[in-house]
Symmetry: C2
Subunit: 343 residues, 2 copies
């Protein structure tokens, strides 16, 4: 390892100034082929390795973007992070990633740390800090699928997703439509899954029931809660065709398992639709689900951030924007009267 080779070393070796070496990288067109060749040779022979930290200090552009996710045990976050990381190939931003673990104080600390490293922007998937607080950091920010009143955001068109689900269940002639959800606040995007579902039922004059439970991030708790929901539905709507829309694939999968164990006919007695298109395909009956366009969400997030970062330079203050990405209904075996087979 010894000492690092710098522009000065290359400059001495080639009898040019270090500015010329710098230009070799940043403005090669301005060099004669000769000097270019000399420098190229020297770089190889001295085994030069660039130091971007010095570059940041000199020109102020870190090309860092900070990401704060709640965690990676939930497939949705993993997939979004995966797609964000992949944008490196097109946008060249480097990503410093923190897992907030649902802890507000921790997340504040993480943001301070990210700012210290001169990140040019933040992508926030965690939800503990209100957007009003986020905006105060005065740095380009994009949030994804969370409360977003005061900041630019990318969200799925949850309303449309719920609408597609409800319409599909109605078309399949379900007698009663049920939405199973956790207690989401009205100001988060996911609440539109309830609004869209209710509105669609009302417009089609189909009975509709919203069931909200205090789901934890725990399989057994979720199982118990959904089992009680099942009992309730059985007693309440015994001889009706039930169309059930759950707020994510994990819930949908567990609910499906409960139905199967109780020997229910699917999709004859129950139709099921999940959300997120994560594990739904791997269920005992592949589950119809609303798929978010995660790649588009991720790319849009980086694009919006890039725009903010660049408009910051040119003094045009960019307005807050809320980008909405349409989801897609993926029809599988838990809906459609003739589809009780695997794909």
């Amino acid at each position: 390892m010894n000492k690092k080779v710098t522009f000065s070393d290359i400059a001495k070796y080639t009898n040019v100034s270090k500015m010329t070496v710098s230009r070799y990288f940043n403005d090669p067109g301005s060099l004669t082929p000769e000097t270019k060749g000399k420098i190229e040779k020297a770089l190889k022979e001295l085994n030069y390795k660039s130091n971007k930290v010095a570059k940041i200090l000199a020109n102020g552009r870190s090309e860092f973007i900070g990401i704060i996710i709640p965690e990676l045990f939930f497939d949705y976050y993993s997939q979004v992070l995966n797609e964000i990381l992949t944008t490196y190939n097109d946008f060249n931003y480097k990503f410093l990633v923190f897992a907030g673990n649902h802890d507000q104080e921790l997340e504040k600390k993480y943001i301070e740390e990210l700012l210290a490293y001169q990140v040019e922007g933040l992508i926030i998937l965690s939800y503990t800090l209100p957007s009003e607080v986020l905006k105060e950091y005065n740095i380009p920010i994009v949030t994804i699928e969370r409360e977003d009143q005061y900041v630019t955001s990318i969200n799925t068109n949850n309303y449309l997703g719920a609408q597609l689900a409800a319409e599909h269940l109605i078309q399949d002639q379900c007698d009663i439509l049920i939405n199973i959800n956790s207690f989401v606040r009205e100001n988060v995007p996911a609440y539109d899954r309830i609004r869209g579902f209710e509105d669609t039922c009302r417009q089609n004059q189909i009975p509709c029931k919203i069931i909200q439970k205090n789901f934890k991030n725990d399989y057994d708790v979720t199982y118990e809660l959904l089992d009680s929901v099942y009992q309730h539905l059985e007693s309440e709507y015994s001889n009706k065709r039930k169309g059930v829309f759950l707020s994510n694939d994990n819930y949908a999968n567990i609910f499906l398992n409960i139905l199967i164990k109780n020997k229910k006919q699917i999709p004859e007695e129950y139709e099921i639709i999940g959300f997120d298109n994560t594990i739904s395909k791997e269920s005992i009956i592949p589950i119809t689900t609303v798929a978010q366009n995660i790649q588009k969400i991720a790319r849009s997030a980086v694009e919006e951030l890039k725009e903010q970062i660049e408009s910051k330079d040119s003094e045009k203050k960019s307005e807050i924007r809320h980008v909405i990405i349409d989801p897609q209904l993926i029809i599988r075996g838990t809906t459609g009267k003739n589809s009780y087979t695997a794909e």
Copy 2:
């Protein structure tokens, strides 16, 4: 945002030198309470924000660790990444993360980029670059669950995992033990799942069959391949009690679904054991599985890296180490004659 507040600004404001301001952060014990107070006040009043990029350039310690994962669609990688990120709270390393997407050239490029940002070490989960190549970068490196001959690594005790699985199936009086695997090379840790399985069968004089298929990262392909395996097992071992050990939970789940659809009795006719403890719990029958101790794997990786980083300073060259973490068998509904119920 205006101009950034620096140590110089604080120094002028308080009539001390910027060195004293620096000491306020790095060696506060050496300051008098008075100056400490003055500086503290100035930091608040001028709203100072630290710049760690300048700090890196000055002292050479970035506190960055680079991570290269193949992708995040596979739960195992997500969980490992999650646990690595969480070590920030104890070790204070910041993580620059790249998704290699199984592309060797891309990964080389990513490593160069990471080196340019002065990362102090690398954690490699991707497998495209041989450890012989990795070692040549001459920087602290730890690999996780991949070929590791020339570098320090953290791996699960795959041999033990397979042994636990085989012993459990034998104890449950299976007549024939089957291991379903992809074509893994003999020099990757996962190959020990085959070795451990075979050895245990041999020692117990139980018939054993290793089936390797060319699994892709695709549900439908995997389904077809496992369906053909099922057909094969049915014709070959029709009235024997079959104990099947699959190399991950996804395969185990799909195989289980195939058995259920064919109305096989589980665990009477087939016993199933998966690996990784990811989706096994959410299957129609919760699947017995070998759980890797992911938290320990992640922490060990960071600890080993830290040791390498620190011993690098003190000129003691640290030896290559291969740390082995024991997994644990989690018994659920797909094994054990009396356990055909959910947990």
